[in-house]
Subunit: 134 residues, 2 copies
């Protein structure tokens, strides 16, 4: 079989990390289907996510592992790990019980484009100042 | 206001393209909530998506605009454009009436990780050989 057929039609889990060693990961609420956030994982983060059942990302800004919820308490319990055809993107179906966006919203996608401007489509569900201590 | 507050709490649409001039875009079925695919847009693709109401991506492998459906007929009608907190990722809520993955599935996420191997969770909804002429 050609390499792309093995990747696309096979059962081997061969996640493709980019030139920075990262793969895109989308967290989706397993109950509502809402897309909560998009982040990145290096191999260590992905291995830890699978081993622990809690989402672990790699923070590009801080250049270190980011155990989601370690500061905020807003963990993501991983119910399912999906991978796409070419194995360069992961969807985590997660259970959450708190807002997942650091700005205070349930999802990072709290604005929609309307006539060239952003319109807020959600209310904050927690106060980030009370959660993130400087 | 600090720059990040303007980006996160403001109403100006200021998508942040990466060093390759690309932004990540997720297509989500507006009816079912299923994540269909993840791709990338340059500014031209994003502008065309907004102007035409049909998803246009930028193919990294072919290094050119990719009007989704131009070859397969499997268009994505854009119902809503969402952007995340730091404006470096877009969700397109789309209406579709055909399989969206080039392998033949409705979604590119047709496999889940089970005990270190990939398990198929979907059936093909079309025959790619009949759709993509070489």
């Amino acid at each position: 079989m050609a390499a792309n057929v093995i990747i696309e039609e096979g059962t081997d889990f061969t996640p493709k990390f980019d030139s920075n060693g990262l793969i895109t990961a989308i967290a989706q609420d397993v109950k509502t289907g809402q897309i909560l956030m998009v982040a990145y994982m290096n191999k260590e983060a992905l291995d830890l996510t699978i081993a622990t059942g809690r989402a672990v990302y790699f923070s590009r800004s801080r250049q270190k592992l980011w155990k989601k919820g370690e500061e905020s308490g807003h963990f993501q319990i991983v119910e399912q790990v999906l991978i796409d055809c070419d194995q360069d993107c992961i969807v985590l179906k997660v259970s959450v019980d708190q807002g997942q966006c650091h700005v205070g919203y349930q999802s990072c996608f709290y604005r929609k484009l309307t006539n060239g401007k952003l319109e807020f489509i959600a209310q904050k569900v927690y106060d980030p100042k009370a959660v993130y201590k400087k």
